[in-house]
């Protein structure tokens, strides 16, 4: 379990190479890369995305989410890298990779990590366009996605 807050651009493919090289007999590796988009949901050009974080609390929130993924899924290794600060369109914002003996656990853990990072990681995010700064909150879809895992816990408890 490796969790990093990156203040500068990073290259996801190099991180995937290093992550994979350190594995043992895992049969499955899933990666996710989230990239800053050049157009907002309304189609307007975005010149920059800015992610504010707060001291050790942001990294701690990421570590707690990664630890939950390890206790919940049969994964043997994971990496979470998240940018902070100003991010240009096309640059990676977040990179997640998971490894497991079988692919189902690797897929589910990566999906889970992203859903929770997108709603619970301690960041405050704004888009800048035309000199105007707009604060961004998790979308209804982000909240529904994150809710899926809570529903699953309830399903299991009910059976």
């Amino acid at each position: 379990m490796q969790v990093e807050l990156a203040q500068a651009p990073f290259e996801p493919s190099l991180r995937l190479a290093a992550f994979s090289a350190a594995l043992e007999d895992e049969g499955a590796v899933v990666s996710f890369t989230g990239r800053a988009r050049g157009r907002g949901a309304d189609g307007a050009a975005v010149s920059s995305l800015v992610l504010e974080c707060y001291r050790g609390v942001t990294l701690q929130s990421m570590k707690a989410i990664a630890a939950d993924a390890h206790s919940r899924f049969a994964i043997t290794a994971s990496i979470v890298i998240h940018r902070a600060g100003p991010i240009a369109p096309g640059e990676p914002i977040v990179f997640v990779a998971t490894a497991a003996r079988h692919r189902r656990a690797a897929f589910e853990a990566a999906d889970y990590l992203m859903d929770r990072l997108k709603t619970e990681a301690v960041f405050w995010k704004r888009e800048e366009h035309d000199g105007i700064s707009t604060w961004i909150e998790p979308t209804a879809r982000d909240r529904e996605d994150a809710q899926r895992w809570r529903d699953k816990v309830n399903d299991n408890a009910g059976n």
Partner: protein
């Protein structure tokens, strides 16, 4: 009662009203988070509206705390609006 000055960091959109760090006079033996929020709203009315409208979490010395936690001079205090996630 003796007072001390506390610097409070305002995160995310909370900094829009009055800037990212505000000073507040607090009792030397501290006060609960709820009282600190009331005092801050009185001292900075432009921020007060945001504090009432937005659900705030207080963070003391890098730990998010409940609203009845005590804030003491020397603590590193920050106020969080709801996070936007990564």
């Amino acid at each position: 009662m003796k007072q001390a000055r506390l610097d409070i960091e305002l995160c995310g959109r909370l900094a829009d009203a009055c800037g990212p760090v505000l000073g507040l006079a607090v009792p030397e033996n501290g006060l609960p988070v709820t009282a600190m929020l009331d005092d801050l709203a009185s001292a900075y009315p432009a921020l007060g509206e945001a504090l009432r409208r937005i659900r705030i979490r207080a963070c003391i010395n890098e730990t998010i705390v409940a609203n009845d936690a005590m804030v003491r001079p020397g603590d590193r205090v920050a106020l969080f609006p709801p996070v936007s996630g990564g």
